[in-house]
Symmetry: D3
Subunit: 288 residues, 6 copies
């Protein structure tokens, strides 16, 4: 069960109204690397997790991310508060209104016209948040890797936002949020390493014929070797013919059809065939 | 530039029509962990990558994922081929048609009625693919972590699909695709480790006051310690009061408004306030 | 700031595995009338709300909805737990597996194959949750009406789910959640009525020429009068000619173009006109 | 059946080209509170409604909303007409083109580059309209409340748009559309009150133990009482312990598994457990 | 302006309840080739069209498609009517309820649990309608081709639905709707041919060096010639080297950076380079 | 199987950084008429196509579209390269940063903050690409028409982009891509004409009573005749009464309910009826 206290996890002090900056900060409220996505990611994992230790960790961090969502949302609300009042009261001069709607370097009309200055569950470009951002699949060794990556991405977005802001209170709050992503990243890595074995994820082993092969599919100027395909780990296959039909077959798809199916497929093919269909060379449809 | 050869990377041999199974396999054609998502992920990274070695690797793997997309799509097409012909020719008996539309354990009408039996860019539940599945953000140390996680997730989904199939040709082709995810995972990990330093991602350091703190936000029965919050790395904070306003402030959001803004905000508040607003205790809006 | 306690707001007791029912319950986890939508709706309003009383209420209810999300998610996890284990361990017999994937009366493969049995942020049909479900616009008299309506809808969905379930523990937990929607509905109504005036929402008055008119746009058999258009409140206009161009103009759209714009528009029109364009009768484009 | 007359319901007179304003107006063409959403909402309800009176009202208003969609779309087309011609004919000077694409205070490139100046089914931020905006669920007492709220929201958006416009013809047309929302709101309220009883919606009564309880989930400075939780209606529960497991149970989720399920769950747990799993204290998974 | 008459364009006579069939029919209510998509497509074109003749045609057909939307929606409502009542009244036996929710060969729970039996703006798989289905771009010669194609697709979907139905009244109504798509297809083709010239669309001519070239990008077994690349129209280029860098350049991307940009790019590259970056062979980043 | 060569199909030469232009070009990278949509459209058709000639053509063109995706993506990457470096290194002056984020005439923050300057799978307005843009349905005569239309739309978008650019290298590359759409359009038209018969698509004939009727649904000033409804092909029906219930029935929807269903429907109606329900005139619900 959740409980709420009105004090934020980090005090929000905004130096002046700035709807344009508010709009950029929406990226971490309703964007793909934002705090709602983080909270939903860990919360859905926590509920289904069977290991009590990891379950506890996932609830700890999910709850903190909800508290971060409140911090970033409060930043947005404070940055918009002046313009919100002036729009609602229609006291703003027209030129100022246009300036406000345009913000500093980007569109802020989304939060003004549509959402009345409140934090909206969109990214900074107005794209609605959707659950396609959540990649939980219910396997701990996969989900923990997803969590590590998600924290890394969130850290970078906070860094970019800090770089476009000079309001000291905003910078400081964003710095706190950025730091916490690093801390969470460490926790998830340590949880991952405590699973033995954790590679490969799941139960089924890979087919040894293909698990240490590197297919050099992109060739030409700039075809390089590196740690990702060096000799000690990988066999590199560059010959185009050896990259195809690697099972030794003919590389063509086939299905066994029963008599009724075959008749129907042939009827359909005859009906919509191009004028090549009468050409014996082209009528050997390997699919049937 | 891409070139195409009509031979598949792996030969597809389907033992009999099975629209229900075809539908499940759509998960890896147009689903979030599927091959289109993988190809788009690495391709968008490859184009923007500045390091020539990683750029080469990303194009290698993106191109292979496109070839996998063709394999999984061909599996779907073969599994649907019989039913497609019978639907188009209306030769199927009604009872069989219903059976076909229902498939084996799930809905296959999506691929039949809507897409005519071809592979559709949806997941196995009919949800349209969308680019929210792609988490590329243009920072190598973050993107490589995302790639490792994506391969881990794809490996698990292939494992689940193999477990619900007994067609030997389908199992074999899925086994190949699953194995390749493991190989790619290794390449991405090695590429990540070759970046020094790679932790934390980006340039800005975390704030040392908060980077090794673990906030124990979820408490009660089952509140455990583990590698993710052990003493050697983390200071664990469990006191509720110490979890709030960790900057030492009052934990409340504020913004400095100019005179016009303040007047407008007060006007708006007066107009929509609840009947509590006249109560001095409640009118101290800390936000203004 | 949020805190979490591992005890649920309501104890979840599931009598037996039932992945099909789990899937139906997703409707209130990641569906449009579900608990995530409710929590996000009130949380976004709470952050931007300027009245301290309503702000407190919105945080109270948002926090309770998060706790409900945990209850419904736990129901899903318990209903799926058996099948999840058997799928992961591949110990299920094939026939049982198909039965499990098909569930009782609907597809459950979504939560099994895709999400590994955990609660997913989709509705019961697999549609990803998206923030288009949230209709917060930042005006209290509108938002409170939206909240009343949202609680009414959620109440109905819970009622339908209770009607398709006979697991006593599930029925009881759903009954609690349904009851709470009714309680919240009352709170929101009382908060709305405490705003004076609350009709019409906003500041601008309607144009009295049109604010008590009822346009009878649908006619024919079944054209009725009722409380929504009775004489004491409304003037009903049924004459088709009086329904058009009610401002007294000609009902056609016009714009004043400058000289350059006019020339360009005429050039474009000439280039793509149909063969009627040379007919003087049809070339009088009222739009220019 | 629908019929169309070329005269608009309200004459559209635009004083000069203004692509930026056109873009803002898209909010009510293809946005969540816009006229397409309104028309679809009432039209879907009308078709399924069993009461002939309400059915008639819903068709009346749905048809009027379609006519409003035509008005707002015509406003967009007229505001864009000059720029559309100049873009198509490439007669605009580059500086003017940039100005036009930027519009007055927001991006208008969406309607220019993508849609050629026509009204697009997006909101003012370019977000595609989607049916998640429609909350029809097929129960009159819930749907009518949703309709009242939708009209309230639309009224506010029109008010905001009027406040950012000074073209008299545009203001006047928007004023008409705004007024009609108020009229519709009245009709829906009267239709709702004519259903007896209309509270709570649906058939199932709430559980009296919980229907008049108010859980005070958000505490700390600013914890207030108000009409939404006053004594005459509600019992307020503030003790954290009394907010948890309100059914009197232990607040933990359980499911009864059969023998096969239990074995599989235990196998899975053993395989992916963290190093804590061997610790007896943590292995008591209450979920199984 | 639109007007509505309660008589449908085509009488709907349903022989018996069939929620499964209702669900399939949703494909043409809220699916990509359905009647809402058709109506929105032609309506958005009509509003922006400058040619009065085509404008009239587009309004004619848009209005008819709205009337078709009403027909298909009424079919869904009638097919669901029995089950809707039994669910709402909880009078259905449990076994029958499950049968009803499962429908005949597909899931019908979407229309029952979620939408209460009314027609929903989703396709037959539950995917929400979205405006991405509309491809209007505001150029008549392109839009008319899109319209022809849309009618062709809709015709095929109706044909498939007719093939899975044996209710004579449903078949007849679907046959009418299918026939009208063919009639509209003819009108759009004739409108397209009346534009001279209509190929290529737009004003800019293609580059003659590339406008009659056919790049044979897919090679291997099954590499055929046909009307689409025959000698009289096309020059076929099969040599891989001649398919690359067809402008005669080196096929690599370059941008001229100013001094500050160059310094920043080099700094970034140094920071995140893999261990190959110190290798002179690989450090020649052509992009800078 | 796909192979990749590092040389582009067309050399990309960008004269200077221009993030605003980069953002506009995203329209053809991740927009509805862009190259990913084109490649996915033809690729999905190719896999399911049974005719070997058309299959070859579809793979040829799909592969070329992937190569175009690489060209347009490389244009975006080069235009963003300078700003990307400066943002990552935080070396840009604040004023320049704002200018860069605002771009030339539109928002470029999407590609900077969110995606780090790389090409993103969004349109120029930040809308995520989704598979609703793909209209493949698996019938050649319909799909080829869709392909012709898609190429026509893409041609127009390229033309608009060329008109807003004056960088000679960008104009030249866009000109190549535009030209290729024209070439593909020709190939698809020729492939369509080689199917005999290709009209109407599919197998079922239209109902001759309705296949050459034109319903004049939009009337009033501007009601015209044209090639789309001329006498030689069409019978035009303008009488409103003749447009309704064209089958000769009463135009009302009916369903035969069994006894249990009827009882439930009547119970539900009684419970939620408006106060009109007791009025015999209005209780004759034709739907039951």
């Amino acid at each position: 069960m959740f409980a709420h206290n009105k004090r934020l996890q980090y005090t929000v002090r905004v130096a002046q109204s700035n709807p344009g900056l508010a709009n950029l900060l929406l990226e971490q409220f309703g964007g793909p690397q934002g705090e709602l996505a983080a909270a939903c990611r860990y919360f859905t994992q926590a509920i289904a997790e069977d290991d009590p230790g990891r379950k506890d960790m996932l609830f700890d961090i999910a709850t903190e991310e909800l508290s971060h969502l409140e911090v970033i949302g409060s930043l947005v609300a404070m940055l918009n508060k002046g313009a919100k009042g002036e729009l609602a009261e229609a006291t703003m001069k027209e030129a100022d209104l246009y300036r406000s709607l345009q913000g500093a370097g980007n569109d802020s009309h989304v939060t003004q016209i549509l959402y009345g200055g409140g934090p909206a569950l969109t990214n900074s470009g107005g794209q609605l948040w959707n659950a396609g951002y959540i990649d939980t699949i219910g396997d701990p060794s996969a989900d923990l890797r997803s969590n590590v990556a998600a924290e890394a991405r969130a850290k970078i977005i906070y860094e970019r936002l800090i770089n476009v802001t000079d309001d000291p209170g905003v910078k400081e709050a964003l710095g706190f949020l950025m730091t916490r992503e690093v801390a969470h990243m460490q926790s998830f890595e340590k949880a991952l390493y405590s699973i033995e074995p954790n590679f490969p994820p799941g139960k089924l082993p890979g087919d040894p014929k293909f698990s240490n092969v590197y297919f050099n599919m992109s060739q030409g100027e700039g075809d390089l070797r590196g740690p990702w395909n060096n000799e000690s780990t990988f066999e590199v296959i560059s010959e185009r013919d050896e990259q195809m039909a690697v099972d030794g077959g003919d590389g063509l798809p086939t299905v066994k059809l029963n008599k009724d199916e075959l008749a129907a497929v042939q009827g359909m093919a005859a009906r919509t065939a191009s004028d090549l269909a009468s050409d014996p060379e082209t009528s050997a449809d390997r699919g049937s």
